[in-house]
Symmetry: C5
Subunit: 84 residues, 5 copies
């Protein structure tokens, strides 16, 4: 899983039907290439500035209630920033 900071929301009116009901968050990677900002679906209610854990790819489907074309999902809100 990746760690990332929630930067904001993405609104898409014309979209695939199966994406309806998911909040779409802009995520900035916490480690590695910070400029590779991406979009993750969220059902946990993560807020802007929070550090979240994101699952990507095929395993995302095990975190969803129904099938959807989602390749990145917020699966946890991290309690405390790592202190490496």
């Amino acid at each position: 899983m990746l760690l990332g900071k929630v930067m904001g929301n993405i609104v898409s009116t014309r979209k695939n039907d199966k994406l309806t009901g998911y909040k779409l968050l802009l995520i900035k990677p916490y480690y590695g290439d910070e400029d590779r900002i991406f979009v993750a679906a969220d059902q946990l209610g993560a807020g802007i500035g929070e550090l979240v854990m994101i699952t990507t790819g095929s395993p995302v489907r095990f975190g969803l209630d129904k099938e959807a074309p989602i390749d990145a999902l917020v699966v946890g809100i991290v309690d405390k920033e790592p202190d490496l």
Copy 2:
């Protein structure tokens, strides 16, 4: 999901049968390595210059009506460019 700008179309006459009926768009990543231009299938009618959201990999199949060897699919047209 990735955000990208629609740069143009790709035409392929000799192709896998299961790709018939999909529009193939050249997509330039909006964040990260802009030069990693790729091709995504589209059924939403995205136009050149529009900012779109693309799902990649295995979850693409949940956005298609039938099975096809497609690893990148336009799943949304973004209403407004992010203001980070």
Copy 3:
């Protein structure tokens, strides 16, 4: 999907049985890191120097007639090089 140029063939005598019958092509990425040359299976008859479209990962299986451990497949031969 990725765009790439066909650079040559790969011959492997000792290989996984399920790869028998596929032509294996060396592919140079057309966009992005040109040095990340990889191997893709081909059933369309792409020739050296042609520009092809390649599907990678899990969706490859929808382009094959039978199950095989193939993670990159030529799914189209591009009619004309993009003019960006």
Copy 4:
């Protein structure tokens, strides 16, 4: 599979239900981009500083007892650091 060093733990109180019961480890890649630290689930009891082998993506599900949205799993603790 990737090799990585265990750097610490990640605690997430608000998380996807299916992640309950897995230890979440911060992993630093042993080869390549060391700064691309990521999170892997662990059921082998790997300790901080140990070198582990991690499976990523879709094949993770074959290493789990039940379905979970996990895209990186510790599948082995390496006996001895490689001597290349």
Copy 5:
């Protein structure tokens, strides 16, 4: 598929049960980032210094006799190094 050189073996005594019986090889990418060394399972008997072809991700399962958390598998030993 990727091409890579076999650099050595990885031994892991404490590992996921389903990995038992596979030889684990350290692989150095032949093209691209040479420092992104990774581990691939092997059932073909590849030796140190040989050039091999590796399938990664979800399609690996079609090359295995049984389900295992393996994301990289040697699927061929290349007869002759490419001459590009």
